[in-house]
Subunit: 361 residues, 2 copies
């Protein structure tokens, strides 16, 4: 075998996504409707308005996308009251993680991550041959005090998922203010706000954009969750112009496809769809909390569209039994959370089917 | 400013794509139809059959794509008579370049590239802080003998665009056989066959798949050209399983969007569309050769859907004048080819409008 870029690569346990519906149907030969509550997707299909914008672009697919995302940059910068130059778009917001690592880190640099949290921070950092300092969660929440203790001159990036995945918890504005004061000028704080729209009205959820001017902060958000466009791959990073400009240097020229751009431009103005999703999520969350707790399971309080549930027993077995009934949830061993599953809030009928099945298995 | 991963990054001249039609309309306030002959795109929109496959997937866009590209892998491996494990899909075939660099190279390694050729090989290698050895073309063709002379123990990847962009020339099977014999076991030959389908019936065009077993070869092909799906971003790499497996380790889990996968599965079986494109290209090429030569311009003979034209004078001025007439071609200074433009073969009416405009300016 040819030599690899670094020895980490062979050891890396690649990210295992939630099982796709078609795969489950194929493997288990299920003919009934399979429901997926595994990947924190929006359970609603995109709105007709957004699908209309996609359809209008179909005849242009022979052309390369706009590498500069002109219209999308304009739409999002207007929404955020920032300049277009404060934005960079990616093939999903996970690409922004890769671009930040690529632009700002080199072998020997350190990054700080929590555990458990979104796995890509650690995997992507190991691929880049960086030293990863890990800080365990405390009571299912980011422990920013301990993370601050790990800061050193070698720390290049600190990854903070806010709200966190898979716990659904969030750090408050006060906690983040306090942490930011301890961060030096050579360190980037990477705030992954993939679930921002679900969390922004939670008590004391931070207004992170205020950090942009004084600090090296990269905030990411995505069209995969609230906007129901996970399949199209589009997310973005917000930062000072100099940071954005460096990430643009290492970006592939046509990283965001044309349909994603067209859909996202329409989606940011589709307030009706956003409200509908938020309402559905809030109602579903209360229903699931109530029913899961009455079954004796502990739920971590969530600022997102999913719930981490402590089944206190063989979650792998329960996961497989649910799968056979056509319900896909996420079993949490990959995150080191034994006995836990993570369930994405669905439509009310999906939530009910899930609770019913859970009672049976 | 925060320290960058390496000092190359600031110096890199990022890739400048051909101007998008909408940008030209916006900037020059053109109301007439603008035609783009700048980016070697298929001038035809995707077929109804392919657009149908896309439409059938629209309601699932809230779901993440299949990270394993199951159906697309099956379709392409059947077409190529290879195993699905010999394939890796990317967000355009340029992503495969990035994945190969990421999986197999580290600081201090060398790569060999031609000049002028597709610019991304060199840009992406500089971003990775590699040493780039450059071998000039000879008579607008890859000089494989000279490239072989540059091979050393430090050579990790040799990039060969076949056919080449921007010249449209190709290396023959015999030339490639001879080169392969000189390549050591620690070197990867990266054969970029983005224009494969246009070239495969040219005299002595190599059957590159035969090298897979004995050599470290990565072949890339794309859905952006013959299949008219540049806007959706999907391409693939073909290699031995071990090489594919290493690249999969450094790949983002959802790099190819759902619509790209659905469209590509349909496109590989749409022989009618492929034939139509090939016929249009062949007729257009003869028309352009004839008319450009009768105007006194030299054309490099092309195995692709574009032609490199030596205008022998101020190509920047001619480029701008054509632009004002709503015709976008590629001016070649960025490649160091002064006095040259590259023109993509269009429909016959586009070709005629281009020749007419060229006569006028």
């Amino acid at each position: 075998m040819i030599r690899l870029a670094n020895k980490n690569i062979l050891k890396i346990r690649t990210y295992k996504p939630g099982k796709p519906i078609e795969e489950v149907k194929r493997e288990l030969r299920l003919k009934d409707r399979v429901i997926k509550m595994a990947s924190n997707e929006n359970t609603l299909s995109p709105s007709r308005r957004v699908l209309g914008a996609i359809k209008r672009k179909l005849n242009d697919l022979n052309r390369y996308p706009d590498g500069g995302c002109f219209y999308l940059k304009r739409a999002v910068s207007t929404m955020l009251r920032l300049e277009p130059e404060n934005l960079i778009f990616g093939n999903g917001s996970d690409e922004i993680i890769i671009l930040a690592l690529k632009a700002f880190t080199k072998k020997g640099d350190e990054v700080i991550v929590a555990r458990p949290t979104f796995l890509i921070y650690e995997i992507a950092s190991l691929i880049q041959d960086l030293k990863v300092k890990v800080v365990p969660l405390k009571g299912f929440r980011y422990d920013l005090d301990k993370m601050a203790e790990k800061l050193s001159e070698k720390t290049k990036i600190v990854f903070i998922a806010n709200p966190d995945n898979p716990t659904g918890s969030y750090v408050t504005g006060k906690e983040l203010d306090c942490f930011m004061k301890k961060v030096g000028k050579d360190t980037i704080v990477f705030l992954d706000e993939a679930y921002y729209e679900f969390a922004k009205n939670m008590k004391n959820y931070p207004k992170s954009i205020k950090y942009l001017k004084a600090k090296n902060v990269i905030i990411t958000r995505t069209f995969s969750k609230i906007y129901a466009l996970a399949g199209l791959r589009v997310g973005y990073g917000v930062a000072r112009k100099e940071l954005i400009s460096a990430m643009n240097k290492v970006r592939e020229p046509f990283n965001v496809n044309s349909l994603a751009q067209a859909a996202a431009v329409e989606a940011v103005n589709d307030n009706k769809f956003v409200s509908k999703t938020l309402k559905l999520t809030a109602t579903g969350k209360q229903y699931l909390y109530k029913n899961l707790e009455s079954l004796g399971y502990d739920c971590v309080k969530s600022a997102t569209n999913f719930i981490l549930v402590n089944l206190k027993r063989n979650s792998k077995l329960i996961y497989r039994k649910l799968l056979k009934k056509g319900i896909i949830v996420r079993e949490m061993s990959q995150w080191g959370l034994k006995g836990f599953i993570r369930v994405t809030i669905g439509t009310m009928s999906e939530n009910k089917r899930f609770i019913k099945a859970l009672k049976e298995v």
